[in-house]
């Protein structure tokens, strides 16, 4: 029996890392939002590694934060260890990574959502979408509840027709033995969605008391832990270390001998797995010469003894998993608490989406997160945020948001997905971004706060604080630009100390700071500031001075890109009617339906000559309409 269970502006199906951000963004924009979850105790659950951030991903967390998202604030409150990575490299690739307290993260995220206005949270299994005349109007749950809405966001992660594989054992299941979502997947197929199977895996978890830590190396957190959210204040907390050990030849022999029993090598699994996150079986097979692989032991929280064995993702049978784990130094007596497994699941081919993450063929329907073929909590969060923003925009008829590739990693991620698609679970890497010097973790607020404020995701108080920061940066830069530092014995002695050559002529303070070994604190010895300058302001001044040449180059590239992005392709364009386009180009263009010439140029199979022809064709159209 189907009954009318209520009317909303936006419905979010799922409460993983994509779902919570979608629900939060939608509610913050003022849309009356309903979030449906299979299990209220699993909100923002981390089914795999207990960590958030890292290169590229950590920047996404900051971008989510600058647009009013939750991930940054919640991890700042619940981490057990924080590290800044790549500190010896350039500013563009520095990245924060936190070890999360998994149970606490769930509790904190749930509470944050519960406190939100405009958000209703309900435990339910959605089985069907209500779609009429190509417009999505709501959902129906397994208990017969029909919820109606102006837009719907699907964030079902790896649950759609999920199948868990351990050795030759295989059963339908979501991650961590939760109920899979089978009917929804079938429903999407009926609605004409192109779905593909992807695969990912997770390692066993072991009991901390059964580990001999003396045989491993300690991996402590930073003495001065950073934080993801621009709202979090600096603080020192008691951190918990991780531990490093390695596989060895015995481990590799166990794997080699039992390879045929692994679900992945027996042919049981058909889905495409990620190359950047291979199982230990894959690593041993593909890199046979490597005598050892790193294994990080990562605690899953403060109030639990479970330890995640990073580096040992596997689908070998349980008995072999135990042998394999116990062959590793420090884990000889390890007690497995949960076995590793591989999971196969349905994903939506993401070229079926507009850059807003709206489904091209069904108005008002959005998909975000792992269902779109990505992997990783941060990638999910970034998409969830954008889908939530745009679902609310569509429901309330307010401004949409599409970030371009120069505005954020989120822009790179979504553009890659909807323009190129992906043949394996997609992970963000810094090398996917062509303007990564502009997409730094330190300037996510400068890039995005303005937008967040305009869209109603950032409140007035935070916005004013941000404005103050901008003003301080500008004033201090101007001061250093004006103030001259003259050569003196004292200065030259100081320069010698940092291996810099003597100063012969007076220079502007800002120019002296461009030298590699000179930082802001050096400058203020000789050109003191007239007020206290916060660290985040100093950071911006230093980076902008030191890397101005490269930043300038990147900005010029962005300008060139933008000109192409501004050339819109009319929605009703008939590619078949364009003589001169190669067949392959026509096919790909019809599939992706790019919105701009810039986007078209990034489609594989569309070459520069095709782009020239497309440009001429579009201009012809314009001339025709004018005359």
């Amino acid at each position: 029996m189907v009954y009318d269970a209520g009317h909303y502006d936006v419905i979010v199906i799922g409460s993983g890392h994509a779902g919570v951000e979608a629900a939060n963004a939608s509610a913050k924009r003022g849309a009356n939002t309903l979030m449906l979850t299979l299990n209220l105790d699993m909100i923002a659950y981390m089914p795999c590694n207990p960590s958030i951030g890292g290169p590229a991903k950590g920047v996404v967390v900051r971008e989510v934060d600058a647009l009013g998202g939750l991930m940054g604030q919640v991890i700042d409150k619940t981490y057990i260890q924080m590290r800044m990575l790549n500190t010896r490299k350039g500013p563009a690739v520095r990245a924060l990574r936190a070890q999360a307290d998994k149970p606490l993260y769930i509790a904190e995220m749930k509470h944050q959502l519960e406190k939100l206005d405009h958000l209703t949270i309900r435990q339910a299994m959605v089985e069907k979408l209500i779609v009429e005349d190509g417009v999505c109007k709501g959902v129906i749950t397994e208990t017969g509840a029909a919820y109606y809405a102006k837009s719907v966001v699907i964030t079902t992660g790896t649950f759609m027709r999920g199948t868990v594989n351990i050795g030759e054992i295989s059963y339908q299941s979501g991650p961590n033995n939760q109920r899979p979502s089978v009917k929804l997947s079938e429903n999407l197929e009926e609605l004409g969605f192109k779905l593909v199977r992807f695969k990912t895996g997770t390692p066993p978890r072991i009991h901390s008391k059964s580990i001999d830590y003396s045989k491993t190396e300690i991996q402590p957190g930073d003495d001065q832990p950073g934080h993801f959210s621009y709202e979090t204040k600096d603080k020192i907390i008691d951190q918990i270390p991780c531990w490093l050990t390695h596989t060895n030849e015995v481990t590799h022999k166990i794997i080699d001998d039992n390879l045929s029993l692994s679900s992945m090598y027996s042919g049981q699994i058909k889905g495409a797995g990620p190359r950047y996150c291979p199982s230990i079986e894959d690593k041993v097979v593909r890199f046979h010469d490597k005598p050892r692989h790193q294994i990080f032991l990562e605690p899953e929280g403060r109030e639990t003894e479970e330890v995640y064995v990073q580096g040992l993702s596997t689908s070998l049978p349980e008995s072999i998993q135990e042998k394999m784990v116990r062959s590793i130094a420090g884990l000889e007596k390890a007690e497995i608490m949960r076995s590793g497994y591989a999971i196969e699941y349905d994903t939506v081919v993401p070229t079926q989406l507009w850059p807003t993450l709206e489904v091209k063929n069904i108005k008002g329907l959005y998909t975000a997160g792992q269902i779109n073929g990505t992997s990783g909590y941060e990638e999910a969060a970034g998409q969830g945020l954008i889908a939530g923003i745009n679902a609310a925009a569509s429901a309330l008829n307010i401004e949409e948001l599409v970030l371009d590739r120069s505005q954020g990693y989120i822009g790179v991620l979504i553009d890659d997905l909807v323009t190129k698609g992906t043949s394996e679970p997609y992970r963000l890497l810094t090398s996917r971004a062509e303007y990564r010097l502009l997409l730094r973790h330190d300037n996510a607020d400068i890039r995005l706060t303005e937008i967040g404020y305009r869209l109603g995701l950032i409140d007035e108080e935070r916005y004013q604080k941000f404005q103050t920061k901008l003003t301080l940066i500008k004033e201090e830069q101007e001061r250093l630009q004006k103030q001259t530092i003259k050569p003196s014995d004292e200065l030259n002695v100081a320069l010698e100390k940092v291996n810099e050559s003597h100063l012969k002529e007076p220079v502007k303070a800002l120019d002296l700071m461009r030298r590699p070994e000179i930082d802001y604190s050096f400058i203020t010895q000789f050109a003191p500031a007239d007020k206290e300058i916060p660290n985040d302001v100093i950071e911006q001044i230093e980076i902008q001075a030191k890397y101005s040449g490269y930043i300038e180059k990147s900005l010029q590239q962005v300008d060139r890109m933008k000109k192409m992005e501004e050339k819109n392709i009319p929605e009703n364009i008939d590619y078949d009617a364009i003589s001169g386009l190669k067949e392959e180009a026509k096919l790909r263009l019809k599939e992706v339906r790019p919105l701009s010439v810039g986007q078209a140029s990034r489609i594989s199979g569309v070459n520069p000559a095709d782009i020239s022809i497309l440009l001429v064709y579009i201009e012809q159209g314009k001339i025709a309409t004018v005359s």
């Binding site: 795999c48 590694n49 290169p55 590229a56 990575l85 790549n86 490299k89 350039g90 500013p91 563009a92 690739v93 390692p203 190359r275 950047y276 996150c277 291979p278 199982s279 230990i280 894959d282 690593k283 593909r286 490597k290 692989h293 790193q294 990080f296 990073q310 580096g311 993702s313 190129k420 890497l429 810094t430 090398s431 996917r432 062509e434 990564r436 010097l437 590699p516 070994e517 890397y547 490269y550 180059k553 000109k563 192409m564 050339k567 364009i578 003589s579 001169g580 594989s604 520069p608 000559a609 020239s612 022809i613 440009l615 001429v616 064709y617 201009e619 012809q620 001339i623 025709a624 005359s627």
Partner: protein
């Protein structure tokens, strides 16, 4: 879109004696002005023609006398500023001109790009749009075809190898960034990066050097025969021409009466220049004056200075030596059939290490030695022109130069102590520029490289 200035040779290659290099875009006038001596083009009226010389600003070398037509937007073919440089010097000069404007800031036009711009700027009407698209397609396919044909297998393999070196290096830098904790992967150091970058840089440098050689092979070594009257210049010319069944082509210019004759010396084509001068007055210096002959001689790739074995060295001979001392030079002591009156040791001193060959053109002696001297001068004595691959396509040469300058920037960034992830930007740029030569610019291959080269995972 059309914010850059494009340039191309706009006369069909190999046809017609007059060559035109056409520039279009905002910087067209500025760029032309940088290499033009004559009126200040930035100040002249639109739709005017100007006579002057093209000079390489780097070397102050005079390249060509030209007529420049200057047309300012919007009444031009492309509705942008257009400059057309008309010259008479044949294929070699036109190419040289094109290279010059490319070095000075223009970009080589894509096939059909002038027409495309004309269209996009509204110059061509609607009915022609279809034709424009067909033209772009046809020209692109043809250009690709030509470019690919010009890029032979060996060269293509070499460039692929260089790209592979670069991308392995970049992948290494990237893996350090994206997987900072993996001790399985060695940390890329600036030392190693500098070494790898320098390696590829030098390989490209070599390719470009060979490109120059290839150009010599295609266009001939421009060779000037000089000497006092009656030393045997005409005999030398005739011997070379007869011996080698010369292909004689008459390319009358309008500013100078040059007759060029091509002879093929053991596979090395010589383009004998100013031979008219030899025939008419027997004395190039007398004819055009010292300064001008110095200029004329500078344009030659090879000077054959002929002396008379039967006479003592004259001041005029010494003057000639002075003129050509820093050029590629072969000294011929002719008339060895007659009595030795020439002071050999003084000749050796004046020749200053340049090869000296004794000949008797009348008795046809010493010609083998001369030919050997010529081939060894240009190809180290090992001419395998049939085997060697040369980059000949202007576009390829241009791209190689760009790749080299990207690597150069990477190298100086290393010197400046920039972080690896920034240095990497220029290395990646070099990689993708090289990709344009072999038609492969897919960015994703970096990601592929990353995962095939390194073992990463959770």
């Amino acid at each position: 879109m059309n914010d850059d200035t494009i340039a191309a040779i706009s006369t069909p290659l190999g046809e017609g004696a007059i060559g035109i290099v056409r520039l279009s875009g905002e910087e067209a006038v500025k760029i032309a002005n940088r290499i033009f001596t004559g009126s200040d083009l930035t100040k002249v009226d639109s739709h005017t023609i100007h006579y002057g010389k093209i000079v390489d600003p780097k070397t102050d070398e005079m390249i060509e006398e030209v007529m420049i037509s200057l047309m300012r937007a919007p009444k031009t073919f492309t509705r942008e500023d257009v400059v057309e440089i008309n010259c008479h010097g044949g294929l070699a000069s036109v190419n040289r001109l094109l290279e010059l404007v490319l070095e000075r800031g223009a970009r080589l036009a894509e096939p059909g790009e002038f027409t495309k711009r004309a269209f996009l700027n509204g110059r061509i009407d609607l009915s022609q749009a279809e034709a424009v698209m067909d033209l772009i397609r046809a020209k692109t396919d043809k250009a690709m075809d030509v470019a690919i044909k010009q890029l032979d297998g060996k060269l293509s393999k070499l460039i692929q190898r260089l790209r592979q070196n670069l991308i392995e290096t970049v992948a290494h830098v990237e893996v350090n960034i994206d997987y900072p904790e993996y001790d399985d992967v060695e940390e890329m150091t600036k030392g190693v990066l500098l070494e790898k970058t320098t390696d590829v840089y030098q390989e490209i440098e070599k390719l470009l050097l060979m490109a120059k050689q290839g150009k010599i092979l295609r266009e001939g070594i421009s060779t000037a025969i000089i000497g006092r009257p009656n030393v045997g210049k005409s005999s030398l010319l005739n011997t070379l021409v007869q011996e080698n069944k010369a292909i004689v082509t008459d390319i009358p210019g309008t500013t100078r009466d040059i007759i060029e004759e091509y002879v093929n010396i053991r596979g090395v084509p010589l383009r004998l220049i100013d031979t008219a001068g030899i025939r008419e007055t027997e004395d190039i210096v007398e004819k055009i004056g010292v300064e001008r002959s110095r200029q004329a001689l500078k344009e030659a790739d090879l000077i054959l200075l002929v002396l008379n074995n039967n006479e003592t060295l004259s001041d005029q001979d010494r003057q000639l030596f002075e003129l050509v001392n820093d050029l590629e030079l072969i000294v011929l002591i002719n008339k060895t059939d007659l009595a030795d009156k020439l002071a050999r040791n003084e000749v050796e001193q004046l020749a200053n290490g340049h090869p000296i060959v004794s000949t008797s053109l009348i008795e046809e002696r010493g010609i083998d030695e001369l030919e050997e001297a010529i081939t060894s001068l240009f190809f180290g004595g090992q001419l395998e022109s049939a085997d060697i691959s040369y980059v000949s396509n202007v576009r390829h040469i241009q791209l190689l130069k760009q790749a080299m300058s990207a690597l150069d920037e990477a190298k100086s960034a290393i010197d400046l102590g920039m972080p690896l992830d920034l240095i990497q930007i220029d290395v990646t740029r070099a990689w993708s520029i090289l990709g344009e030569i072999v038609g492969d610019t897919v960015h994703d291959s970096l990601i592929d490289q990353l995962f095939s080269q390194f073992c990463l995972g959770k």
